[in-house]
């Protein structure tokens, strides 16, 4: 089957890009319409139009380039927020990856490890992480540690279980093959299970990185003096919804870029992998 609407078949590139652009256009139209609806009732302050958010963006650029006062300060805030938020996410995410990958490989490879860790993990995983915030603040204080811990706890368990699933998905006869070549049980893990799972693990990292940003905002909404989430709450207090929207757009762009980076890395590093699509 060919044609634009054949299930799972590729379509010509121009059509793909046109559809992608169309998606954004539709989003903008809905936004514009909703803003118009609020504006008609004289409540444009509750729901800014795309143009108003574009204004904020221009302001930021002006602040960055000319250093005119209110704009420059706003831009400096934005840059500082970005820096600290990035630091929190990256620290927590790196910690999660460093601990979850080895443990996930252990669980996926050894039934002993699975029995030891997995049931406990499944239990902990269902404790909603936000419920831990008061406890985290009591234990770690309101400084960086509690925020990083929150993001860490939010991603660690998921990542560990996803990694173990990737290991379990490797066909067992690949392991049998290494044994018939004289491989040891340890080599079955290091030379077969792990290399076979890397693409899946990187994909799990990509998803978890997205979740890490969600947990970041949760952490910063609750208690912070700077950061993207903190700034959003602050603007809410002054009813500056146009600036909130600007921050939301920024978060979306960051997510998109990180996602692309992970995908690009996968594509280059795992050239051997059957393209997940088509």
């Amino acid at each position: 089957m060919t044609g634009l609407l054949s299930p799972r078949r590729p379509i010509p590139r121009p059509f793909y890009w046109a559809s992608a652009v169309l998606g954004f256009v539709v989003l903008l139209c809905v936004w514009e319409w909703a803003a118009g609806y609020y504006a008609a009732q004289g409540k444009q302050v509750l729901f800014p139009s795309p143009a108003a958010v574009g204004q904020v963006m221009q302001n930021m650029v002006r602040g960055a380039t000319t250093g005119q006062e209110p704009a420059a300060r706003e831009f400096q805030n934005f840059a500082a927020d970005l820096r600290i938020s990035f630091f929190r996410v990256t620290a927590a995410f790196a910690l999660a990856a460093l601990t979850a990958i080895p443990l996930g490989v252990m669980i996926g490879s050894y039934r002993m490890g699975e029995a030891f860790i997995q049931p406990v993990t499944e239990f902990i995983r269902y404790i909603p992480v936000p419920a831990l915030i008061p406890l985290l603040i009591v234990i770690f204080g309101i400084e960086e540690t509690s925020k990083i811990m929150l993001i860490y706890l939010g991603t660690f368990f998921q990542l560990m279980l996803m990694v173990s699933d990737e290991i379990r998905r490797v066909p067992y006869d690949l392991v049998q093959a290494v044994y018939t070549m004289g491989g040891t049980r340890r080599e079955a893990v290091t030379e077969v299970l792990l290399p076979a799972s890397w693409p899946g693990i990187v994909d799990a990292l990509r998803l978890c990185n997205g979740w890490a940003w969600s947990w970041l905002i949760v952490a910063e909404l609750v208690a912070a003096n700077e950061g993207m989430g903190f700034r959003i709450v602050k603007y809410q207090r002054f009813l500056q919804t146009d600036k909130i929207f600007f921050y939301l757009v920024a978060l979306g762009v960051i997510g998109l870029l990180l996602d692309l980076a992970f995908r690009l890395f996968s594509k280059i590093a795992f050239r051997w992998n059957v393209a997940a699509r088509n």
Partner: protein, 293 residues
């Protein structure tokens, strides 16, 4: 005697019930010999081969290689699986040289010259198997026949005492299968490999083997061992000789006696008769086995 299986019995436990898959199987594969193992579907051929490879444990009985008792898998027995089992993240060349990544091939208390000559041998295998121009390809870029060539080369890299193959050409088209059979035959001639081949293709079993071991239907028992009366250096033409066809007939009869009954045909005919008659209204007459000479 290279490989010696004595009194191998295997029972599986599935859902509380015990299933006897193999019963008291004893046979040997001699040095330089090519033995085919055939039997009806589900009779335990793969199980027996996996036991020989050490990947499966026998309930009782022993496996010996060069008069040494074996337990567990080892690089002295190379294995070729039906579904290739190539490592998709390695290129053809890396797959063939994969054994050198393992401690078993580097820890040895042997001079590095010996290891170097082994690596060189792997390079030759690439040429022997006709894979040289595909050396940098990944498995997903290869046809089934090519993949199985890589798998065979990889199993030979270790210079195993015996090559164990589980329906290695079962998934290939007829022409590719014949090509690979030819390759195996000549490999046996040149490299003096010792091979135990599990197959459900009777012609393949005869064409390649010096001896054929026939298993009965479940539980698998050794039904018969038949010497193949052709010289090692044989041509595809022998498949048309009366001796070949007679042997084929003998094996077909053995397999049917040992399991599959021809009642399958009668059953299918009955169903066809009933339902076709209902749709077309015209009865069909066919021969049954009883009517044939």
């Amino acid at each position: 005697m290279a490989l010696e299986l004595s009194h191998i019995t295997k029972t599986f436990r599935s859902g509380g019930a015990e299933v006897c898959a193999l019963q008291d199987c004893t046979f040997t594969v001699n040095d330089g010999e090519f033995v085919s193992l055939i039997g009806p579907s589900g009779c335990g051929k793969s199980t027996l081969l996996y036991i020989a490879a050490g990947l499966e444990e026998a309930t009782s009985g022993s496996v010996m290689l060069d008069d040494c008792d074996l337990s567990g898998p080892g690089k002295d027995r190379g294995m070729v699986f039906q579904n290739y089992t190539l490592y998709p993240w390695l290129t053809v060349e890396q797959n063939i040289k994969f054994p050198f990544r393992l401690k078993a091939n580097t820890d040895y208390a042997r001079p590095s010259a010996a290891i170097m000559s082994d690596v060189e041998y792997a390079g030759h295998l690439l040429e022997i198997m006709g894979l040289a121009q595909f050396r940098h390809r990944y498995p997903r870029e290869l046809s089934g026949g090519m993949k199985q060539r890589v798998a065979i080369a990889r199993a030979l890299t270790n210079k195993p005492r015996i090559l164990l193959m589980d329906e290695p050409f079962g998934a290939l088209d007829a022409q590719t299968r014949e090509e690979l059979q030819e390759l195996m035959l000549l490999l046996g001639l040149y490299e003096k490999t010792t091979t135990l081949l599990v197959t459900h293709d009777i012609e393949e079993a005869i064409y390649l083997a010096d001896r054929i071991v026939v298993l009965s239907a479940r539980p698998g028992r050794i039904l018969e061992e038949i010497k193949v009366p052709f010289p090692k250096d044989r041509l595809l033409d022998i498949k048309l000789t009366p001796e070949f066809l007679a042997l084929k007939r003998q094996l077909v009869d053995l397999l049917h006696a040992g399991g599959r009954s021809s009642s399958g045909r009668a059953e299918i005919l009955e169903r066809l008769g009933q339902h076709f008659h209902a749709t077309t209204g015209s009865p069909v007459t066919t021969t049954t086995n009883q009517q044939q000479p």
